[in-house]
């Protein structure tokens, strides 16, 4: 693995109306971007439970990308603002957990912005690549498998 460039794994959350459509638009237009991102469709960025983000990091993701409609364009009036609030909060919590907050990115993308979304994905992949692997899942496994932890969790 050391002789190869590190390929980060990124989990992306999209909303059904704008950013998932942007990904479709990128696809239809054959816009190329890095294969490191794996997208999950939600109805709205407001559906994003912070647990999802931490679950992704705990499961082995090196970066998480949250996407949604541009402010003011939300299909559900204003729920992307709630995603924005949670995003800011999550960044703070990540710091407390010892994770570089730069591993979490928020990106607005309208249904027409396939090219822009692809460019932002590429940018984020490079940023996370520069940060290196997170291995939070492995560290976490180690942490819970210490005798002290086992005692607590038993």
């Amino acid at each position: 693995m050391n002789d190869k460039t590190f390929e980060p794994t990124i989990i992306g959350f999209t909303c059904n109306w704008c950013s998932y459509r942007a990904a479709d638009t990128a696809g239809t237009a054959r816009v190329k971007y890095a294969p490191n991102v794996r997208l999950i469709r939600l109805m709205c960025s407001g559906r994003l439970d912070p647990t999802f983000v931490f679950k992704a990091f705990a499961g082995g993701a090196d970066g998480v990308m949250v996407t949604g409609c541009h402010p003011g364009d939300c299909h559900y009036v204003e729920q992307n603002y709630k995603a924005l609030r949670r995003f800011i909060l999550m960044k703070r919590v990540l710091v407390q957990m010892g994770i570089d907050p730069a591993r979490l990115k928020l990106q607005w993308a309208s249904a027409a912005e396939g090219v822009q979304l692809a460019a932002e994905i590429n940018k984020f992949v490079e940023e996370v690549r520069a940060l290196g692997p997170l291995h939070w899942n492995l560290d976490y496994q180690e942490a819970v498998s210490t005798p002290a932890m086992e005692e607590v969790t038993a």
């Binding site: 054959r30 109805m43 407001g46 309208s110």
Partner: protein
């Protein structure tokens, strides 16, 4: 109970198989995901074909499948197809999950190995998720039979008439005092040279007098609530200061009104109108409007000439704006376009050089009901031009302004050239980049113009100037252009220049779109549900678009879209109810602590709080399924169908399954 899952990976010809090793993905899923319940995994050339669908149905029976995962195109394209296939096969349609390995993998990646690995990961995510899918029934919502049509141009009129003729009620809302739109301003239509007003006004009259159409001119939509089948729309009826029930449209008021104002809308600034006016003689409805901004009574408190002379006492200076609320099941937006502002290209001299006109101004100049009674004359009002230059693509096909082609300007410019020939005998130069005549009878019209002797110069005009270099250029407008067919710079002196300004989205298209819950493309036109196969529907159920709001188009295309949108609406009305995705949130009363955090989060006020029981409850009729409350509930008491926590958390695990393998392998 352990689920029995069937996985199907589509080749989509070479669309997917060209970049993803489809066989390897399906084989991998069959082996590696067997412990998750995958009992059968197949790949097939075209899963969406009837044979592909039968494959699923056969397996449902043979293997007793309880879940299906299809790796193919975007769910926005074929989710309905595969859900239906499952339903036909006896499986609840919501137990089928689609994974986009075309739009999100094969079409956007080039490295076959990486693309195949990603496709495996996405399938693993789908498999992990589908286990938690629930059997659901679509929500059935009744459709209100009335329809709202916004915009009274030709597209809106056509749509309204089609629906009204079918026996259903339509509210036709128009911002201006009369319906008719841009088409009412034109003189002739290409390529048949029909008189525009002659073919439009019968339709306007029909719309104005139709028993099933409520015409609301001088009105604007201010608020839209609700959802498909049951929209509640607020419309502001601006004060006309005319009692329409008494007005006969006799015209004495505008005859007697002493105040003249330049008509910037209908006459494109080419003529004056009175402060009380109808925009044009054939206006529908016939009632005038008092323009309060320019009326002497509203400005100075005196005059009231119209009131004095009105034979039926129909003038009412006390009238106020009135807001009415209507309930409709569907909405058609046909709000049209704005003309590109030619002043943005200063080197063409519009607004600075007297004899430079825009296409809309020239339409009025040609029009028998226009400022010159239809004679094509220079700014002095009497001299006929000897040479006329018509510039195509003004503000269109130009990276500095609008990159798109405005579709109608070539044909409109040819029409102008013909009219100039016919009426003045002047020499006409058309300056074009490419000649685009893709319509029935359009190319033939172009040939006719070539035979009439119009000069065609292929090149983008650099400048229009009155700065003469030679005696022949003195007193003329000189068009500087590179004639790309002979490879030379030319200076062509003309008496009159017509700029074929392009079409652009309405200045308020974005705000209006937001009000109706639809989005604009990067150019600003409204986005259709599918650019090829669903051009009049939008992503918002029950909201349709027709005419130039969707993109530049000519009259026949606008009429076709108006009729098309009407057909879609009629189909919905006839069904009487619509099946909606059962994506809804609900609260488990036993788990709800009554903290009320969710209450304030819902933009649709769908969450009620029961003081007596100290729990919140979601009204499923109002819930739109965004899931924000589900994410916010600290007690985990709210669950959302189709996007439950279990589904998404499992999908995350599934997506990372492959990754974990690699990392663990590396660690080991």
């Amino acid at each position: 109970m352990t689920e029995k899952i069937g996985v199907y990976v589509c080749h989509c010809g070479t669309n997917i198989a060209g970049t993803v090793d489809v066989e390897a993905v399906s084989k991998w899923a069959g082996e590696k995901l067997a412990h998750q319940g995958v009992v059968v995994s197949r790949d097939y050339k075209f899963m969406c074909s009837s044979l592909g669908q039968e494959l699923i149905q056969k397996d449902i029976k043979e293997f007793g499948l309880t879940r299906v995962v299809v790796g193919a195109c975007s769910p926005h394209l074929h989710e309905a197809t595969f859900r239906n296939a499952c339903k036909e096969g006896g499986l609840n349609p919501y137990l089928c999950e689609m994974v986009s390995v075309r739009e999100q993998v094969s079409w956007v990646h080039t490295d076959k190995e990486a693309a195949t690995e990603k496709a495996k990961a996405l399938i693993a995510g789908g498999v992990a998720r589908v286990v938690h899918n629930e059997a659901l029934e679509p929500l059935r919502v009744p459709i209100h039979a009335d329809t709202l049509v916004v915009g009274g141009g030709i597209a809106g009129i056509q749509a309204a008439l089609e629906i009204a003729d079918a026996g259903f009620h339509v509210y036709l809302v128009e911002r201006e005092p009369s319906i008719g739109g841009h088409m009412a301003q034109f003189d002739k239509t290409f390529p048949t040279l029909d008189c525009s007003a002659c073919i439009l006004t019968p339709k306007m009259v029909q719309a104005g007098s139709h028993p099933n159409i409520t015409l609301l001119t001088w009105s604007e939509v201010t608020k839209v609530d609700g959802y498909v089948g049951n929209f509640v729309v607020s419309i502001n009826k601006k004060a006309r200061y005319i009692k329409t029930e008494d007005c006969t449209g006799c015209g004495i008021c505008w005859e007697k009104c002493p105040w003249k104002v330049t008509d910037e809308v209908f006459e494109a600034g080419m003529a004056k109108r009175k402060a009380v006016y109808v925009p044009f003689p054939q206006a529908v409805p016939k009632y005038p409007v008092i323009d309060a901004v320019n009326c002497a009574y509203f400005l100075k408190g005196t005059c009231k000439a119209c009131e004095k002379f009105c034979p039926t006492n129909a003038i009412d200076f006390e009238q106020k704006d009135e807001t009415i609320t209507v309930q409709v099941g569907n909405i058609i937006l046909a709000t049209g376009y704005d003309l590109f502002d030619a002043k943005r290209i200063p080197q063409y001299g519009y607004g600075r050089l007297e004899n430079v006109y825009t296409n809309l101004e020239f339409e009025r100049l040609c029009n028998a009901a226009g400022p010159t009674g239809g004679s094509i004359v220079l700014h002095d009002g009497k001299t006929a031009p000897k040479t006329v230059g018509i510039v195509h693509c003004v503000g269109s096909r130009d990276q500095n302004y609008n990159a798109y082609c405005s579709a109608i300007c070539c044909m409109q410019s040819l029409k102008f050239a013909h009219l100039v020939h016919e009426r003045t005998g002047a020499e006409v130069y058309n300056f074009y980049i490419d000649m685009r005549t893709p319509g029935k009878g359009y190319e033939e019209f172009y040939q006719r113009l070539l035979e009439e002797g119009t000069h065609f110069v292929r090149g983008k005009v650099a400048e229009v100037t009155d700065f003469a270099r030679t005696p022949e250029e003195e007193g003329k407008l000189i068009i500087q252009v590179e004639d790309t067919l002979i490879g030379k710079q030319r200076r062509i002196p003309v008496d009159m220049v017509v700029l074929s300004a392009g079409l652009q989205p309405r200045h308020d298209a974005k705000e209006v779109g937001k009000m109706f819950g639809i989005a604009c493309s990067s150019d600003g036109w409204y986005i259709e549900r599918h650019p090829k196969l669903d051009p009049v529907a939008t992503m918002t159920e029950g909201v349709f678009i027709a005419g130039c709001v969707q993109g530049p188009k000519d009259i026949p295309a606008s009429v076709a879209q108006g009729a098309g949108a009407a057909a879609r609406v009629l189909g919905k009305i006839q069904q009487k109810e619509i099946a909606l995705e059962p994506v809804r949130a609900s609260i488990n009363e036993a788990q709800c602590s009554g903290c009320r955090i969710c209450n304030g989060l819902c933009p649709f006020s769908a969450i009620l709080f029961h003081e007596d029981k100290m729990v919140s409850e979601i009204n499923p009729a109002l819930c739109q399924g965004c899931g924000t409350c589900v994410a916010a509930c600290p007690a985990g008491a709210i669950s959302g169908t189709c996007f439950s926590n279990e589904q998404i958390l499992s999908q995350i695990e599934g997506l990372l399954l492959l990754n974990l393998d690699v990392k663990e392998a590396a660690a080991a």
